[in-house]
């Protein structure tokens, strides 16, 4: 299914509230600073006015439930059956089934577009907690659902959501010694999956530009020339080499402002980090050591770069200025550290850690303190941050047996290490890269 060019979402128009008052049980709020909390029970009614309203409600239910922060109450247990978007619900009916919030919506036609209104009712307090209206092309109904889920998430948690996003990843198939690897992009809930490379050569490590209009990745050529970094337009599919170096270029990542790509370039067995200006193609060398310097990632404010280097003997994490220089090591635990990624909020760096025979996904503060692990297994690798800095995706690989490669799957996990779940993909999948929120 085609992604939609320049899809317009007009929205955010607030809807006025009604009012009532009532006693309390489960609150329509989460204090994210507390170490543990109960998921908020929330009832989402099929949106009225059009058949797509039931689909929209379903996407919202799944988004909120899958975050682990909400418990979506099954519609079969709803008592009030005649609730509509214009009037307050009968709050006692919803209190009785334990709901802290009720979401009601309406879909209507507006020219060639659809208009979706929703209201979030606070059952405990007995008033409207949020109400918004959005208009877009009918084919964008999934995006509207995700935007609504993000609005609900924000109202309840106080933090930005992450549902209106995409994930780029590597779709894998074939036997273990002749793997086909192609870049794919899907909505974060697994819908709208499509391939953007053809699989004739291995393509790996895709990363989005901040506008989601472009992807960088590394791909092999059909001859014996070294694999290189490519820049590809997501909509047109047009791609070009990013630089033309005699040796291998790999591990590309965009800067937060989208004007640069940082990457590793290898020459005579030495891999160093370079920064390339995307439009003008000016190249700037950032490291110059006999060590392997790779997996560079900008900080959220673009002033620093965290990277992976074995200059101290084994793979560790280092932070340097975005212009190079000032390198300092930040990983000091027992094991090898790799694949560092800086949170969009700036407060954590996630990484892959290998200790003995076991792999783990962890986070540490940018100064290296506060290290804790979120997931572990035979092989877990490659964390990527959702744009709200609360949820991460990574991939799990099972051991191969009897000459057959083990399965490879994408997973998401909350920053507390809880709510791990598999992200559905059509086949085996690795190397996830989470996009920013899709520009409206």
């Amino acid at each position: 299914m085609m992604l939609h060019r320049r899809s317009t979402i007009l929205g955010g128009a607030a809807l006025a509230a009604g009012a009532a008052a009532a006693p309390a049980h489960a609150q329509l709020t989460i204090d994210m600073t507390r170490p543990t909390f109960e998921p908020v029970p929330i009832a989402i009614v099929d949106f009225a006015g059009d058949r797509v309203g039931a689909d929209i409600a379903n996407v919202v239910r799944n988004d909120l439930q899958n975050s682990g922060l909400f418990r979506s109450i099954p519609p079969s247990s709803f008592i009030q059956r005649d609730v509509n978007a214009g009037t307050p619900p009968r709050f006692p009916d919803w209190r009785q089934i334990g709901a802290a919030g009720v979401v009601v919506g309406q879909v209507s036609q507006a020219g060639g577009n659809i208009k979706v209104d929703f209201r979030l009712w606070d059952v405990v307090v007995g008033n409207q907690a949020a109400g918004l209206s959005f208009t877009s092309q009918p084919a964008n109904w999934r995006r509207l659902a995700h935007i609504i889920a993000d609005a609900i998430y924000k109202r309840v948690t106080g933090e930005e959501g992450y549902f209106d996003t995409r994930i780029a990843y590597v779709a894998e198939s074939g036997p273990g010694n002749a793997r086909v690897k192609r870049i794919a992009i899907m909505d974060q809930d697994g819908a709208n999956n499509r391939y953007i490379t053809d699989g004739r050569t291995i393509a790996i490590t895709p990363r989005f530009s901040p506008t989601l209009q472009e992807i960088v990745y590394m791909a092999y050529a059909e001859d014996r020339s070294p694999p290189r970094v490519y820049l590809q337009n997501v909509d047109s599919g047009r791609r070009e080499l990013l630089g033309n170096f005699p040796g291998m270029s790999f591990a590309p990542r965009f800067s937060p402002d989208g004007t640069k790509v940082v990457m590793s370039i290898s020459e005579n067995g030495q891999s160093d980090i370079y920064e390339m200006d995307v439009r003008g193609r000016a190249l700037r060398r950032l490291t110059n050591t006999p060590a392997i310097d790779t997996s560079p990632c900008y900080s959220n404010d673009g002033t620093q770069i965290v990277f992976n280097s074995d200059r101290g003997g084994a793979q560790q994490l280092y932070v340097m200025s975005a212009g190079g220089g000032g390198e300092r090591r930040i990983s000091f635990g027992d094991g090898r550290y790799a694949t560092p990624v800086w949170s969009p909020r700036g407060d954590w760096i996630a990484f892959t850690k290998i200790t003995g025979g076991s792999f783990g996904i962890g986070v540490m503060r940018p100064d290296g303190g506060g290290e804790r692990m979120l997931a572990s297994g035979f092989l877990v690798e490659g964390p990527t941050w959702a744009p709200n800095g609360r949820v991460l995706a990574f991939f799990r690989q099972q051991p191969s047996s009897a000459g057959r490669a083990g399965s490879v799957t994408l997973h998401q996990v909350d920053i507390t290490g809880r709510f791990e779940r598999q992200i559905p993909t059509p086949g085996d999948a690795s190397d996830p890269a989470w996009s920013p929120l899709i520009p409206q």
């Binding site: 010694n177 020339s225 092989l379």
Partner: protein
Amino acid sequence: MRTIKAFAAMAVMLVIAACSSQQEAAAPATTTVTPGSIADFRQNVGDRVFFDTDMSNIREDGRQTLNRQAEWLKKYTNYQITIAGHCDERGTREYNLALGERRANAAKQYLVAQGIPAQRIQTISYGKERPDPVGSDEAAWARNRRAVTELQ
């Protein structure tokens, strides 16, 4: 000098051929391998060297293989060479691309030191993308940490 060298080379070839024949006599099912062919290189010289975990230095067993490769390649100069560096699956994707490149380059530098012109040799890294064999035990991992000399 050159003539004597050629005779010596031929003598070596005949000895090798003789040895092969004796082996063939012992194992009648095998097919004849043409000296100077890619099959000859793979079977009788050895096309790959192996590495320790996270390392790219050529081990003693690797040196012996590369010495044989160098001799063979000096004899059969019609081949272009690509050395492919690989890693086992117990590392991360991007670092392994770099480590595979280091391994390929280490093997290349060794052959260059033995007299093979550098222009004859290209290197490429497959990181952990092309396991051979596919397996998740120490034996498989040890064979995956390799640099393979491929002839064109």
